[in-house]
Amino acid sequence: MAAIGTVVATPDSPSLENIEFIIDKNAQPQIERGQFVTIPKNKNQVVLGIITSIKKYNAYYETIDSSIHEISSRNYEAIFPIKEWENTLANAKPLGEINFTNERITRLKFPVSPGSKIYVASSSIVSKFLGLDKNGIYWGDLSSNNVKIRVSLSRLLRKHLAILAISGAGKSYAASILLEELHKTGSISVLVIDPHGEYSSMVPTNVENTNTKVIRGSFISIGIPELSAWEISEFIPEISVVQTRVLDNIISNIRKKNRNHYGLQDIIQIIDTSEKINVRTKEALIGWLYSLQRTHLFSTETSPNLSELFQPGKIVILDLSEITNLRSRSIIVLHFLSRLYYQRTRGEIPPSLFVIEEAHQFCPQGSRSISKRIIETIAREGRKFYASLCLISQRPVNLSVTALSQCNTNLILRIRNPYDQDFIGKTSEGIDRSTLKMIPDLEIGEALLVGEGINYPTFFRIRSRTFYNKVTSPDLETMADKYKEAWSVKRNTS
């Protein structure tokens, strides 16, 4: 392999923190920021580094004067051999020393020598350094080093995952890659909370037995007979302990009479006709229960029965796009997550992953949400029970710090908001300032993987989807035309 450059001596390089090198002209097209490089120390040892910055230098343009007093009719490049002296310099951050004899990676203890040749790191060295797993989840490629980013499933999900990016940067796409991989491995079961119906449209309709099941919001119901008074009270954060106790008595009485087919309306009637209940408690309870009834989520039976659907390798998508009310969505999230999580703690369902889109809506920082408690509980304790979270958000700053800080692996796509960037810097382990600076410049499809899942923050390009459909949302003009058409048909008919 040909060298790509030579280490130069500057006041602060080569050191244990920085290696500056001049890039050979022929090698320039293959060099990019974030690329891993090696500098051989001897036959058995190489120093591994990552390119942190690249700059061009030309002494002809070193001073401002060289261009401001230029005579307009003539430019320098027509008279001077300027291009001959354009040099490309790069800085690499030393990451460690690899010893081929004992296959150990150790901290760099002594700088490399000026004049050392620098090479593109081989894929095997990079894979070893990053701790990639050849059988792991295939997220994408680090093309500059010809490395497939395959992350160990266990390392990626045991301590939860967060996918963070601005809207339209490819969060759902990245998550769908994860689903594809889990679909392939067929080992764990997955629940996807899909507030916008993005995932349901990805599922191919022409493939049978896909292991992916989409449940539309309108088909979701929560069976009242399955709920205790304390569980119902979780849907009504304002309910008092006294009111819950009264509700508990009523439900106990119903169950004593062996009735297991009752709904909210039945409970409301009993409260309304009861003479034992204090009038103020009665009015409050009826009010709370009516507010639940208005969500149209409650029934005498729960549908779907997720415990039955939750088989190894199954992916269940709860499409909540038809439910516009955030409270209703949160009730669904709370109910199904609670059920599945407690079933998982008792070993009744396989190891599970809960993918929550727009996680900041269901588990916000600084404001109340019905579903926040269960998400934070899984974030804190799920690891012990092999119940993992994948939180997806476009506003990390609005996402519960408790939940986000428990996500030990972060997949970060483009984020522009400085508050969000700052927040990511504080909550993500292993992100340094220079890495953080690169996040706003990420292109669509480029991602940074950082944390428990990988040994070093790595920028890579997310792979193309192979199983799920490609979904593109129509542009504004198309949607306006479509509406106009539908409206004129409606008018003509009427």
Partner: protein
């Protein structure tokens, strides 16, 4: 004076013979240099004094570019883009003045050797070769035979180079960037009484005092407009008598950039050549220099000289590295240094 452009042909012979033009100023027109190959040669020199010996480091580079209507088509460097240093150790106890002379002459020799090699290998593809500085090096006032021998070597290489250029039809000129000469101002002081009718207003000034305090470059900064050159002046420096072809040196000033001092151009001409030929050659060289010098309002050095200078320059870091290498390889290097360099502290 600038607008009058006095006619010099009526000067008395002892003054007229010093110059090679009939007019004080000549308007030039930058020529189309596409198709021409113009080269530049420059050298760098650094030295260090030690007890018992001195070390010199030299480097000379030639750069030549071929131009097209769009600009540079190709640039070639000789011997390489970044040639290594040429190191010389002098074991004689030189006085400070001899030490300076030795460095200057040897650097000039290195430059001329590179220029000669370029001409020998250029296969007549070079049109104009520009060299940095003046070819005039006065004979050193020294008893050191070694230095005098080097001086003779310099003159001999210079003569061969001028003959070689003449033989190959390559036009060669030396470019002096900063000059402290006052040949022209002196000459001007001498001719003013003869051209006074045309410049009567100058008599109202104490021109002798002004001229006495002026150097050529200061004077011509005001007198010359861009694209205008002064009359060529005959310098007292001849070579090549041993080849039966005597060449003498002519100098003139050329203003290339509006806010820069003019450059002095010097070139050798056979004493047997007629005036028209010389004027043609001077104008040809000047009109080729102008396009490669007009890129900045404040700076007008020809590009080949700027480029050669940049490549030949010896950086302090190179010299430091060289002496570090010597220190590493010698067991007691500190004994070589003068006492002032051995102090264990730096105030």
């Amino acid at each position: 004076m600038r607008s009058l452009n006095p006619n010099l042909s009526d000067l008395p012979p002892h003054l007229y013979n010093l110059i090679y033009d009939n007019q004080m100023f000549t308007q030039l027109f930058p020529q189309d240099i596409s198709g021409l190959t113009i080269g530049g040669v420059d050298g760098g020199y650094a030295s260090r004094l030690f007890i018992g010996f001195d070390i010199f480091a030299f480097r000379a580079v030639a750069v030549f570019s071929t131009y097209t209507p769009e600009g540079i088509q190709k640039t070639t460097y000789y011997p390489t883009k970044t040639p290594p240093l040429e190191i010389a150790v002098s074991d004689v106890g030189l006085s400070l003045m001899d030490f300076e002379n030795m460095g200057t002459i040897r650097r000039a020799i290195t430059e001329l050797q590179i220029a000669s090699q370029v001409l020998e290998q250029s296969n007549k593809k070079l049109d104009i070769l520009l060299l940095d500085g003046s070819p005039v090096i006065r004979k050193p006032l020294t008893k050191s035979r070694k230095i005098l021998n080097y001086y003779q070597t310099y003159l001999s290489i210079l003569s061969r180079l001028v003959l070689l250029a003449r033989k190959q039809g390559i036009k060669m000129a030396w470019i002096v960037k900063d000059s402290r000469l006052n040949l022209f101002t002196k000459f001007l002081g001498q001719i003013i009484p003869f051209i006074v009718e045309e410049m009567s207003d100058i008599l109202s000034l104490d021109y002798r005092r002004i001229i006495k305090r002026s150097r050529d470059m200061d004077l011509f900064y005001y007198l010359l407009e861009p694209n205008v050159r002064s009359m060529a002046y005959h310098r007292q420096f001849s070579i090549s008598k041993q080849f039966n072809q005597e060449f003498t040196l002519y100098a003139y000033y050329l203003k290339t950039a509006p806010f820069d001092i003019p450059i002095r151009v010097e070139l050798f001409q056979s004493i047997h050549r007629d005036q028209t030929d010389l004027t043609k050659e001077i104008n040809f060289i000047s009109e080729a220099i102008l396009p490669v010098s007009q890129y900045n309002k404040n700076y007008g050095i020809p590009a080949p000289i700027v480029e050669a200078d940049a490549r030949a320059k010896i950086k302090k870091t190179e010299i430091d590295a060289l002496f570090q290498l010597i220190r590493i390889r010698h067991p007691t290097p500190d004994l070589w240094f003068y006492r002032r360099k051995r102090a264990p502290w730096k105030f």
